[in-house]
């Protein structure tokens, strides 16, 4: 891939002699990672996360690494992860979007009012199409707000920090004006399913199917890539490395599905299930998995699409080019202004999606909806390796960053630390993560 930062040299770039020379100097772990082409920085982040998981597991008396807790963790990570995928592109293009939290509140409140008050006042409650109209309206509104802010950044040449700082105040204020401080609830019954919850999951079987399809896709992609490179006569990874990846990837996915599928419906819901399906069994003996939550699948789908856009499409390539050298991008004939505007529009659409998922999950919208989310989203991107000076960052990293921060927070909640103390820890971790990253980059540059 052209854009995986810092994987400075790989087998594909070296002569056989070089590859042998380099690998003979290194330790086993580094050599293996190198052959597998796993970014050492991402590996570090994953390692740190595993450490956190294990520490909290013991600290909390064995309640962290349980299907139930990890299932909840995936749900809690999703909303920040959805927005972080867009924030990566914004930051890579040397901009920032501070307005996403307020925008989430504004768009969320708009969608809440639309389905709880405006549409029902005309068509009545419980229309089958309500959820679709509301979701679409939210995505469009988010996109338009993003487009508007992006246009000011790109064409009026106002720094994005200022434009979106203004947006942070404006959308929060307009949210209040729109709802007059009321809490809007409940959401449309179908719409609620977007947010997960007891009914908003796909169940155990479908989870297995999704895991299976993803596993097959990974294997096929690895084969296709290898074939393609061989066709052109380029160097490829050693065969064993490709085979390890073909086993490791699916094993991780299926292992995660297996683990999360052990989170079963609680007794009350199991009784309901027996009743609904006219079964003649004792609900207490039933082990019905929730399966992956809808919003988790939405977040994963978003991450895959965004990652594809970032690495395999012109749009993504140009965003990185602008971030790497704006002047060069312009001299190459890239319409840089329009491009910047579209990154903000993309961010806005993702905020609309996150807002829909958030109000569906909470089953309400309040005046404080989305408060401080911008900071978590930016932190997720940065912890995941996105450089604030632009040009560098991956979608996958940002999702990992979101999961990392959420792990930290839910772990601390689990062991009973107050939110104020949690804030202190998250703040310190953010700074330490970026400092470690900077040190790593300096060492690479030498």
């Amino acid at each position: 891939m052209a854009l995986t930062e810092d994987s400075t040299t790989t087998f594909e770039t070296m002569t056989p002699e070089e590859a042998r020379a380099v690998t003979s100097e290194w330790g086993v772990i580094k050599r293996t990672l190198f052959s597998l082409e796993i970014d050492t920085r991402m590996f570090g982040l994953i390692l740190a996360m595993l450490v956190i998981w294990i520490v909290f597991h013991f600290w909390s008396g064995g309640t962290f690494l349980t299907p139930r807790n990890l299932w909840t963790l995936t749900v809690q990570t999703s909303i920040v992860a959805i927005m972080a995928t867009g924030m990566v592109l914004v930051i890579v293009s040397r901009n920032i979007d501070l307005s996403v939290g307020s925008m989430l509140g504004f768009v969320g409140m708009f969608m809440a009012l639309l389905q709880a008050e405006w549409l029902p006042s005309i068509f009545g409650f419980d229309q089958w199409w309500t959820w679709m109209v509301v979701l679409l309206a939210g995505l469009v509104l988010g996109g338009l707000i993003g487009l508007f802010q992006g246009a000011i950044v790109a064409y009026a040449a106002v720094p994005s920090f200022i434009v979106t700082l203004g947006g942070l105040l404006v959308w929060r204020g307009l949210l209040w004006v729109m709802a007059r401080g009321r809490t809007i609830a409940p959401m449309d019954a179908t719409f609620q399913l977007l947010g997960g919850g007891a009914r908003g999951t796909v169940g155990g079987t479908v989870s297995w199917i999704i895991g299976g399809v993803a596993s097959i896709a990974i294997v096929l992609l690895l084969i296709a890539r290898r074939r393609n490179r061989l066709k052109f006569g380029f160097r490829v990874r050693p065969l064993w490395a490709d085979i390890v990846l073909m086993i490791l990837g699916p094993a991780l996915i299926l292992g995660a599905v297996w683990f999360l599928n052990q989170y079963y419906l609680p007794i009350g819901l199991a009784e309901q299930y027996v009743e609904d399906n006219n079964l003649d069994v004792d609900p207490a003996t039933l082990e019905i998995p929730f399966g992956l939550a809808n919003l988790v699948l939405i977040a994963l789908g978003t991450a895959i699409v965004m990652s594809f856009v970032a690495t395999r499409r012109r749009f993504g390539r140009y965003v990185y080019a602008v971030g790497g050298n704006p002047e060069a991008a312009q001299l190459s004939g890239i319409p840089t202004k329009r491009l910047i505007m579209y990154t903000f529009m993309t961010m806005g659409i993702l905020v609309g999606l996150a807002a829909a998922v958030q109000i569906a999950r909470l089953n309400s919208a309040t005046a404080g909806l989305g408060t401080l989310q911008e900071l978590y989203v930016i932190a997720a991107a940065v912890i995941g390796g996105t450089s604030l000076s632009g040009g560098v960052g991956t979608i996958f990293g940002a999702v990992l960053g979101a999961l990392f921060m959420q792990s930290l927070q839910s772990g601390m909640s689990l062991v009973g630390l107050e939110t104020q103390v949690q804030d202190v820890v998250v703040g310190v971790v953010l700074v330490v993560a970026v400092a470690a990253d900077a040190a790593y980059r300096r060492r690479l540059a030498r």
């Binding site: 052209a2 400075t8 393609n228 052109f232 499409r313 012109r314 390539r317 001299l331 004939g333």
Partner: protein, 263 residues
């Protein structure tokens, strides 16, 4: 090269003017380029060389003046138009996206895609390998960000970008300024080769040796104006230096001026 009957005029720039807030960076400059020649543009800092040439590469809009390519008037208001006309530019700054690899830079803005519009990185790498085999056979780092390449390698990438697309008109802004002796010689060899391929080259350079080694004609700019255009074979380096430093036309240069130059 004296203008023979067989020469084909590629570019004519007539009465070009560019000003920045009342300062005339380029003032009514007329210059042309024929196929297979190296036309050097020289002058001190701020003489307007780069600005003039940017109006041809589409990076700078001219306030007035006309540009003819193959005798037809064109309006080059962005770099894309220039490239469409077969005009490629190697900028002094190289204009590379530091975070992107060599094939990504070579094809920046003109990516090869699969039928459904995905980036075809393998084909781009393949094409880049082929160009590099011609320009710089030692170049091997096709998958790393260009930021981690040496000056000479980065220069190769910038040149590969220009020559891969069958440029007919090449603009080189200080192509050897950042290079060591061996790499400079390599670039000179390349320029001679491109010339044989009948490409017209505008060469902007501070290096009077480069200019005398490579150029057929030399145009001297001084404070935004064109002092004059001379055939290399008709002048000495001293003449050209006098034009650069004093802004005098070739005929106006006296023996005293030349003595002063060395004084």
């Amino acid at each position: 090269m004296t203008t023979e009957i067989a020469t084909r005029t590629l570019v004519e720039m007539k009465e070009m003017s560019v000003s920045f807030g009342g300062v005339h960076a380029v003032e009514r400059v007329t210059i042309d380029l024929v196929a297979g020649e190296v036309h050097a543009i020289v002058g001190g800092n701020g003489a307007g060389k780069s600005t003039l040439i940017k109006t041809l590469s589409g990076a700078q809009r001219a306030d007035s003046g006309t540009i003819l390519i193959d005798g037809e008037e064109v309006s080059i208001d962005n770099p894309r138009v220039a490239k469409g006309l077969g005009i490629e530019t190697i900028y002094q700054t190289l204009a590379l996206a530091e975070n992107i690899d060599a094939p990504g830079n070579v094809f920046l803005g003109r990516e090869l895609t699969t039928p459904i519009g995905n980036l075809d990185d393998s084909s781009m790498e393949d094409a880049t390998r082929k160009v590099m085999a011609r320009l710089n056979p030692k170049f091997q780092n096709f998958k790393v960000p260009v930021a981690s390449l040496s000056g000479g390698q980065r220069q190769s990438v910038a040149i590969a970008r220009a020559v891969h697309f069958d440029a007919r008109i090449l603009i080189m802004d200080e192509p050897t300024a950042a290079l060591g002796p061996a790499e400079t010689e390599q670039v000179r060899g390349l320029i001679r080769q491109l010339k044989r391929e009948d490409i017209g080259i505008f060469l902007i350079s501070h290096d009077i040796h480069d200019v005398f080694d490579l150029a057929d004609r030399i145009s001297v700019m001084y404070q935004g104006r064109l002092v004059g255009t001379v055939n290399k074979d008709d002048v000495t380096t001293d003449h050209v230096l006098a034009m650069i430093i004093m802004g005098k036309k070739p005929g106006e240069i006296t023996q005293r001026d030349l003595e002063q130059l060395h004084g």
